[in-house]
Point group: C2
Chain length 340, copies 2
DNA sequence: TTTAGCGGGTCAAATTTGGCCCAGCGGGGC
DNA sequence: GCCCCGCTGGGCCAAATTTGACCCGCTAAA
């Protein structure tokens, strides 16, 4: 019997109890996310009554899954073994697996993961998306691989959500659409953080912000810069977020004329410095200097983006280029499905 | 993720709730076994407090799985869809799947099914074994098959437990070790009942009891009898119970000298009129006239026997001949494992 | 030393449980 | 065909348990 069938069966027999089990799993994962944590903080985040958290925590303690001390609740090593299963279970019970399947079919993406909640209402959700993205990335990494990771808050959470490992053969490169502004500097930071956690190398390119075009052209001819660019082009895995065109136009402080042009052309999203419209066509390319998308055809493309507002941008980004994996949140997932 | 893993995970997270779900499944299957049935009768059989049955019944009613009226509780068509799953779930949660796996390995039998309970303490268990045996038999039947079924109370329950079907191409033959006594007459009855339920043909051989040897020899030369014997020999599936040697020696009212001989030779069990010892070697063959075991090498052999007392006989019978399936009850299963 | 956050205790309110009875109905015996 | 008995679901209420909403003493970090 398949998993989903078993869960459906049990839901049919005793929905109350299944939900209760789900809440247990939720509490367990919640503790893992914030440990050490107290009942009240946790109850607030999970939107559960304090008393229920207390009862569940007592149960889990009986099972030897957590310890209660003055610092708060913390998971035991035993809990770490059940944790992946518990995460999966919560996703199943929240109906997220169903969302994932539908998205996977509708968007033609092999791997889709949906995190419960709404990133716009709960910052914790973005962390969860980052963690899930990190997990997916980790599962694609083995031996001598090159990872390119872009910038943005989602990618920051991805780097921070990566578990520590020892993969000295792995090289991390900032997947930058161009060079010479603060956004790309941030990509450097993220890449080095990711490399640190993976125990691998990082080929970050440190360039002062706001150089003029000719100075950038000079830099591109430097051997180490060229090396990094080549690495970027043959990256095995490329991970990136998806930005809203409007937000990004403002944040990158583009000249008003450009902003207007972007808007008039119906841009909805931005990746790697490229603004694109609903159908995924490039409307404006921010970086005249750089490698463009920065990946080849054989590489795994992982996109991570959360929040219902980003739904149109996500759809467009996925139309633009065939992706291997999508990590998003519940609200975005539902919005995407309603837009299609 | 595999089923057992999911259940183990949930047990680890919230054992109480999992048990509760198990009880729900138990009540559902219990109702199916005895419907229409009242709370108290059911509570008595399942050894649960009446109130709990009441609560669970209310839950199941909320799920639209059963109706409550003056006649008692009855399942709805919707419940029939979940019923097989519920049966399997109860077996999983009672740890019977574990028993099955261990028996399967220890005895080298591909299909093992263990029914909860003890047939010696609860007659209902034998019915359940019969039902399970019928289910297994049914799963092996398709198109033009010949089934041989032996006698005994377990086989009677197997025939009675078979769901009605329409398999006109199926032929049922009584799997008899010999001819000419009441036991074989019973095999006829069972075979015809089974054939009736399967919607197939029955090739029963009606011979008066207690003919002498020469008269039997004559009968064996009759064309219709020969035909039945040939069918028996090429049966695709053979289903049989396993009797205790002592019981059977008494019940068949053998002469005291034979009974003593059987005992002295350490007979533990009997099938098809053959008495055998612990190692499965034939100690005494009751029927000098007949087809012996009555099956060929290619046929599926299904054995069904319940009750801890039968454990040694079951072990010996399985040593005696390679079986395809074993259906037994919990007490016998545990006794078998403790004896090995 | 202060302070914020922790687990645990407490206790009334709400809910569930346990055990019993009741009126009604349906099937088996006559 | 009819009646009667046994079993049915549902009602009921006290007992037990769980829930909810606090407070308290402690500890670890600031």
């Amino acid at each position: 019997m398949h998993d989903g069938q078993l869960l459906a069966l049990m839901k049919c027999l005793a929905p109350e109890q299944v939900e209760q089990i789900g809440r247990h799993a939720q509490v367990l994962t919640g503790i893992d996310n914030m440990q050490p944590v107290g009942r009240r903080a946790l109850a607030g985040r999970l939107r559960l009554p304090e008393r229920e958290v207390r009862t569940i925590a007592a149960n889990l303690k009986d099972q030897g899954l957590l310890t209660l001390d003055a610092a708060g609740m913390q998971l035991t090593p035993k809990a770490d073994q059940v944790l992946p299963g518990a995460r999966d279970l919560t996703r199943s019970l929240f109906g997220l697996h169903d969302l994932e399947d539908r998205l996977s079919k509708a968007l033609n993406i092999p791997y889709v993961l949906v995190v419960a909640g709404d990133a716009e209402k709960d910052v914790q959700v973005l962390r969860e998306v980052g963690r899930a993205c990190a997990h997916r990335l980790r599962s694609l990494l083995s031996g001598q691989k090159t990872v390119a990771i872009a910038g943005g808050s989602t990618m920051m959470e991805t780097a921070r959500g990566m578990q520590f490992a020892s993969l000295p053969e792995v090289t991390v490169v900032p997947a930058r659409g161009g060079m010479g502004n603060s956004i790309e500097t941030q990509a450097n930071t993220i890449a080095s953080e990711l490399a640190r956690r993976l125990g691998g190398r990082c080929k970050a390119i440190h360039v002062p912000d706001s150089l003029d075009a000719s100075a950038l052209g000079e830099m591109l001819r430097l051997p180490e810069v060229k090396e990094a660019m080549e690495l970027l082009e043959k990256a095995d895995v490329v991970v990136h977020g998806i930005a809203l065109a409007d937000d990004m136009a403002l944040r990158r402080s583009l000249p008003p004329s450009i902003v207007q042009r972007i808007r008039e052309n119906g841009a909805v999203g931005e990746t790697f410095g490229d603004f694109f419209d609903r159908s995924g066509h490039t409307v404006y390319r921010m970086n005249t200097v750089g490698t463009g998308l920065g990946h080849n055809e054989k590489s795994h493309l992982i996109a991570a983006a959360a929040g219902a507002r980003k739904a149109p941008a996500i759809i467009a980004a996925l139309r633009r280029e065939r992706h291997d994996s999508l990590i998003t949140d519940e609200s975005a997932a539902q919005e995407i499905l309603s837009l299609l």
